[in-house]
């Protein structure tokens, strides 16, 4: 399976790795959610969001991301994150996202957690 979306960096088995944008606002989060929805329709259940390029997020964007996580969980899958800055990780914590999802230091660790 392959994807030509610039947001998708790899798809292996039932797991896709996506790259988040520099500023995760509502538009950027919607783009991620739509991509995950497309991939889910192709059989992908686990999503890893690599946040190394993300400098800032806002609460509207995170709200969209939380809905995306809930859909993945309903589909017996998961959404996890890697390479998030300490402030983004703290923001996720405050908004309760970490109750639904794990954050890993590296993409390799995130992939290994699914395998």
């Amino acid at each position: 399976m392959s994807s030509d979306s610039p947001l998708v960096s790899s798809v292996v088995g039932e797991t896709a790795v996506l790259q988040s944008q520099s500023y995760v606002n509502d538009k950027a989060a919607d783009a991620l959610a739509q991509e995950c929805q497309k991939l889910a329709a192709e059989g992908i259940r686990h999503f890893i969001i690599n946040m190394q390029d993300s400098k800032m997020v806002n609460s509207i964007g995170i709200a969209v991301v939380i809905e995306m996580i809930e859909k993945a969980i309903e589909n017996n899958g998961s959404v996890s994150f890697c390479c998030a800055s300490p402030t983004i990780a703290k923001t996720f914590q405050i908004m309760g996202l970490r109750q639904l999802s794990a954050i890993y230091d590296s993409e390799e660790e995130a992939i290994a957690s699914i395998e």
């Binding site: 800032m56 995170i62 709200a63 300490p86 402030t87 703290k90 405050i94």
Partner: protein
């Protein structure tokens, strides 16, 4: 600290204009020697303050006025939306009710409070003034 380290900025309520405000916060944060995490927390809180104003102020001018003040304690940012104001207790009750119903929005004030060291909200029919401080 010299008085001329104050910065005034007026931004229109246009999409992503909050990113203009955070460039000032970042420059001043570096200037006073805040570490990267503290600067990022200020930027994130400021984004929330701006988008709250954009979404809720009903300001006829469709602009927000910001003042960045450097003091011995740290950086204080004031955000004045020029809108029609709101009742803070009512707003908090509404947000709590929405969260109980599973809605995901309404985190702006909580994030500002958690990410900054001090946050004050003063709202009247002349507008809402949010004042938030990050210590050095």
């Amino acid at each position: 600290m010299a008085e001329d380290s104050n910065v005034d900025l007026s931004i229109p309520m246009l999409p992503d204009m909050e990113l203009t405000a955070i460039t000032v916060a970042e420059s001043l944060g570096v200037f006073i020697g805040l570490d990267t995490n503290k600067i990022d927390e200020v930027k994130m809180a400021l984004i929330e303050a701006c988008i709250n104003a954009f979404e809720h102020s009903k300001s006829p001018e469709r602009r927000i006025d910001l003042n960045f003040q450097i003091t011995d304690r740290g950086m204080t940012i004031s955000i004045n939306d020029g809108g029609d104001g709101f009742d803070l207790d009512e707003a908090k009750a509404r947000i709590a009710e929405k969260r109980n119903k599973g809605q995901k929005r309404g985190w702006g004030l909580t994030l500002m409070s958690e990410l900054m060291d001090e946050v004050e909200v003063d709202s009247s029919t002349n507008g809402t003034l949010v004042t938030m401080t990050k210590y050095r």
